[in-house]
């Protein structure tokens, strides 16, 4: 039995925030869970997939977030509890459905968990998803701790059913990915048989009366939140400064006050039900102090909402000073940490505190140098994407028309850096590479002569690039789509997808064939193995020359990390030290200076290249690019 599914009420277990959310859903009796992976949200449905068998759940990796939310909503319409999870970018994809679902309402509890990535550590953007709650008139909860992550999720299902609305839970990286003790609750027994009530159609139309009903539901939610245990005040009756915070900001604020020794002077109002704002609680606590500091991650959501409430009631509250992102007392962008909060509080209450020596960061960096090998942000050893970009770089240079690569979301996004030889020139949303290519591919009529190349991973293709390919065919756009088929959703942790032949819970699934899909859409399709560099270069050049409509080149080679788990390395690679030209004319370290696979090492003592046997995956690509045939591969 997986630990997440154990029915052991009262037991305390160490859980990751995302596992706590999953456990909360289990304790709520969730039946249908659907998601598209994306950091920092992926583990929620990942662990639910592992527990699906024993708990009798339906858990799926959907092709994209919109479909995932629709799948979960269907369960809700039929009276079951449904969970949908995604990262912040995913909510943008799902938002079209979400902003109609709010009008049609729900039946079984429906919870949408969005994990935001402040600082965009593993994202292309930094986005505050809470704004969607306000936009869609939907209740929003923000967990601050692991226990609360579990409790809030469980409670969110109840709130959803009481209101007939989906409930949003907004997590952030440090809540989702940190671990802490969680006390388990009971797992309920079986639920009702699902049935869609045909006498109660779910129609957003007509919007105006439905919108009115939605506002009434929101008023009800506000009323419920006034007594929610997720909102609390800690501190003296009349603090010098009131910190208003939510989510991760609560833990940072607590830590800051302990470090500064200000627990008796500064109070904290923690809001767990961030939308609709529990106005009575807010007003009551604003009366405590005249100086208010907001601590929250990404946008001034709480800050602006509290200020709105204050403005409505300023005659009775009197003058107040507000500090936060608007006054730049708290950084407007980037992730928070206790130090940032300490810094902000310290300036407002005039205590001096040096949390760390001034050169602390520098010293940590220096100390780390001895412990950790210096490595650029780049592809793994033996990654097929490096070989792909090598071929792209070569082909575009030979072609000579200043062609460029429109990027997409996936590991291959690193193609913008040295690992991909700086080839990728745009990166936006899922499927945007192919979408932009649709547009660029129309500009030849105005004189654009540059060849257009879009890259897209297999999972990204199913997610959002397919419509772009259909559009290209229909509207007659000219471009080359490189489908980097590594048979994995690698960047988010190897979740299966429609092309992999297995489902989220590990069952065999029919393979949705990339090549057949592209063909059916009317694209000219070729398939090549990127490890065969010269064949790949030739294929790209050939397809660049042929300007008749959209061409797809499928670069088929399994992710090196997936391969390594299944089989031993295909080649044993070594460098013939006598042949290696090193830095002399004729080579000048092509392998370690330009190609830069981490499996290759430059030996400063001998002035020759070597193979790092511990890292080398034996793909043999470097043997093909070595100009002196010094790198040799033998079948292992």
């Amino acid at each position: 039995m997986t630990s997440i599914a154990q029915n052991a009420p009262g037991k305390t277990v160490l859980l990751m925030g995302n596992e706590a959310i999953a456990r909360g859903a289990i304790e709520a009796g969730v039946k249908v869970c659907a998601a598209y992976p994306g950091n920092p949200s992926s583990e929620i449905v990942g662990v639910l997939a592992r527990a699906a068998g024993e708990l009798g759940l339906h858990v799926e990796w959907s092709v994209n977030e919109k479909v995932a939310l629709e799948v979960a909503a269907a369960a809700s319409f039929a009276g079951l509890r449904g969970l949908c999870t995604m990262k912040q970018n995913g909510l943008n994809v799902a938002s079209d459905f979400l902003l109609n679902l709010n009008l049609t309402g729900t039946k079984g509890g429906l919870v949408l968990v969005v994990a935001d990535d402040p600082s965009g550590v593993s994202s292309t953007n930094e986005q505050d998803s809470r704004i969607y709650a306000k936009l869609g008139d939907l209740p929003l909860l923000e967990p601050a701790s692991f226990q609360e992550a579990k409790e809030m999720t469980r409670t969110a299902f109840e709130i959803s059913e009481q209101l007939g609305l989906p409930v949003l839970i907004r997590s952030v990286t440090r809540v989702s990915h940190a671990r802490g003790n969680v006390s388990l609750g009971e797992i309920p027994g079986s639920s009702a048989i699902p049935r869609f009530d045909t006498s109660r159609p779910r129609l957003a139309f007509p919007p105006v009366p439905n919108h009115k009903v939605l506002h009434e539901k929101l008023d009800k939610a506000r009323e419920m939140f006034e007594t929610s245990p997720f909102n609390l005040y800690r501190g003296p009756e009349k603090p010098e400064l009131l910190v208003v915070t939510s989510g991760s900001g609560y833990m940072y604020s607590l830590e800051a006050l302990v470090n500064l020794g200000l627990q008796e002077r500064v109070g904290i109002l923690k809001i767990g039900t961030s939308w609709p704002l529990p106005e009575k609680i807010v007003l009551e606590n604003l009366r405590r102090a005249d100086r208010i500091l907001f601590v929250e991650e990404v946008d001034p959501f709480l800050e602006n909402n509290v200020k709105e409430t204050y403005a409505q009631n300023c005659f009775t509250l009197g003058l107040k000073s507000f500090f936060g992102k608007a006054s730049k007392r708290v950084p407007e962008v980037g992730e928070l940490n206790p130090e940032v909060v300490i810094h902000a509080i310290q300036k407002l209450v005039h205590v001096s505190y040096e949390p760390r020596p001034a050169d602390y960061t520098e010293r940590v960096r220096e100390a780390a140098l001895d412990l950790v090998p210096v490595r650029a942000l780049g592809f793994c050893a033996g990654c097929p994407h490096r070989a792909t970009y090598w071929a792209v770089k070569t082909a575009l240079a030979l072609d000579g028309r200043d062609g460029f690569v429109l990027g997409d979301i996936g590991c291959y996004g690193l193609g913008m850096g040295p690992s991909g030889f700086g080839q990728m020139k745009t990166i936006h949303a899922m499927g945007s590479g192919a979408g932009l290519a649709c547009g660029f591919g129309q500009l030849d009529r105005f004189g654009l002569e540059q060849p257009i190349v879009a890259v897209c991973g297999d999972s990204t293709f199913y997610h959002a690039a397919m419509p772009a390919l259909v559009n290209a065919r229909y509207n007659g756009s000219n471009f080359l789509l490189l489908l980097l088929d590594n048979s994995a959703t690698a960047m988010t942790g190897f979740q299966p997808h429609p092309g992999t032949g297995s489902t989220a819970i590990g069952e065999t699934a029919p393979v949705v064939d990339l090549k057949a899909v592209c063909k059916a859409f009317g694209a000219r399709v070729e398939v090549v193995d990127p490890f065969n560099v010269s064949a790949t270069v030739e294929a790209i050049l050939r397809l660049l020359e042929d300007k008749r409509g959209v061409r797809a080149l499928i670069l088929q080679r399994e992710c090196a990390l997936v391969s390594a788990k299944k089989q031993k390395r295909p080649y044993r690679v070594k460098v013939n030290q006598n042949r290696c030209l090193g830095e002399s004319c004729g080579c000048n370290r092509l392998c370690t200076r330009i190609f830069k696979c981490p499996g290759l090492m430059w030996d400063t003592a001998t002035g020759k290249a070597r193979i790092d046997e511990a890292i080398c995956t034996g793909c043999g690509v470097c043997a093909e690019i070595c100009p002196a045939s010094a790198i040799q591969k033998e079948v292992a």
Binding site: K393, T394, S584, G586, C587, N588
Partner: protein, 372 residues
């Protein structure tokens, strides 16, 4: 210290001065040719490189290069050093049928093979798309298939650098003026050599007024012959100067003036029409259809021609005075135009030639009259 690939890129590639001779290719992973262009794939940080040293368009001291090949400096300014000038043609009808003009080049090359002067060679055939490519020749049968021209220069010397060559093979090469200059620079270079230049025993040079830019020229031809496959290209000698295109079974005649815009910028700064740095140079005789002009320059060239005549492979006559006069005039005209172009591009020294002011003056004021 030369300036390595960075210098080559700055002074040659970006200035559109690359002649696509192939001397820098297959020596280096950062340079490759593709469809008539040499492409830089990545930056190289070396301060000194063979790419720069061998290039016929980087800074060059012609005096020292000529001294290395002929034992004397750049003195014979008209058509370069020579021992003999004549007109000749091959006697083998099989060769004449395939040849661009008189078949002398193919006949001499075959003869050098037959006589054991060379055991291998590099020639420049064209693929189906008329793109010239360097080809290793390991036996005589391969030679005749390489005859002809598409008036586009190709990276012949890439094949020399690439090989592979057997230990004892002596090599013969047929090359354009830019290519024979590159070969001479390879011979003269003090840099470490991994090229088999020391085993190149025979260099036959081809007269060349200019070569054309592959891609636009082919696009132009394709349109003019309605996409038919092209069998042969031939430019008739002056004064007519017509490009004859044999496409399928049609002959399309195009005035040379219509294709001048495709002349490579690199050819416009070239001083050499008669491939002066070769053992023997071969061109076309004006007004005598089926005859080649032959300039014998070295002892090797002289020996080859003598033996070939004796063996009856080559039929030779003296070149009429008028033809010699025209040849010298044409050669000097190319030199003067190149000097003008170099001046226009910012000065002779700044570009690549290390020629004394005295020599420049002699070229500018020389008459076309043959020396007594």
């Amino acid at each position: 210290m030369n300036k390595g690939l960075r210098g080559l890129e700055e002074k040659v590639i970006r200035q559109d001065l690359c002649a696509v001779c192939g001397a820098c290719l297959s020596l280096c992973p950062y340079l490759r040719s593709w469809k008539g262009r040499v492409v830089k794939l990545d930056d190289c940080s070396l301060e000194e490189g063979r790419c720069f040293a061998y290039c016929p368009r980087t800074e060059v001291d012609l005096d020292s290069v000529y001294r290395r090949i002929f034992g004397k400096g750049y003195e014979e300014i008209e058509i370069g050093p020579f021992r003999k000038i004549m007109m000749a043609r091959a006697t083998d009808p099989r060769i004449i049928k395939k040849a661009q003009t008189g078949g002398v080049v193919s006949a001499l090359f075959e003869f050098a093979f037959r006589e054991g002067m060379i055991q291998a060679g590099v020639l420049t055939p064209r693929d189906e798309a008329l793109l010239p490519e360097g080809k290793l020749i390991k036996n005589r049968v391969q030679i005749i298939g390489c005859a002809g021209s598409s008036y586009v220069s190709g990276p012949t010397l890439e094949a020399l650098n690439r090989g592979p060559w057997k230990e004892k093979e002596r090599i013969g090469i047929v090359g354009l003026p830019c290519q024979v200059l590159a070969l001479a620079r390879m011979r003269a270079s003090k840099l470490e050599k991994k090229t088999p230049i020391d085993r190149v025993d025979l260099v036959i040079g081809l007269f060349c007024t200019w070569a054309l830019e592959y891609k636009p020229f082919m696009a132009f031809l394709k349109e003019r012959v309605n996409g038919l496959s092209i069998k042969k290209l031939n430019i008739t000698p002056p004064p007519e100067r017509i490009l004859e295109v044999t496409a399928a079974h049609r002959l399309v005649r195009i005035p040379v003036d219509d294709i001048r815009s495709f002349i490579r910028a690199s050819c416009r700064v070239c001083l050499d029409m008669t491939a002066e740095l070769s053992d023997i140079s071969v061109g076309t005789v004006e007004g005598k259809e089926g005859w080649n002009t032959v300039i014998v320059r070295t002892a090797i060239g002289e020996n080859l021609l003598k033996r070939a005549r004796r063996a009856g492979i080559i039929e030779a006559r003296s070149l009429p005075k008028d033809n010699l006069k025209h040849l010298i005039e044409a050669s000097l005209l190319k030199k003067r135009r190149a000097l003008d172009m170099l001046k226009e591009r910012g000065g002779i020294e700044k570009n690549y030639l290390n020629l004394s002011a005295d020599l420049v003056e002699r070229i500018v004021s020389a008459s076309g009259d043959p020396k007594p």
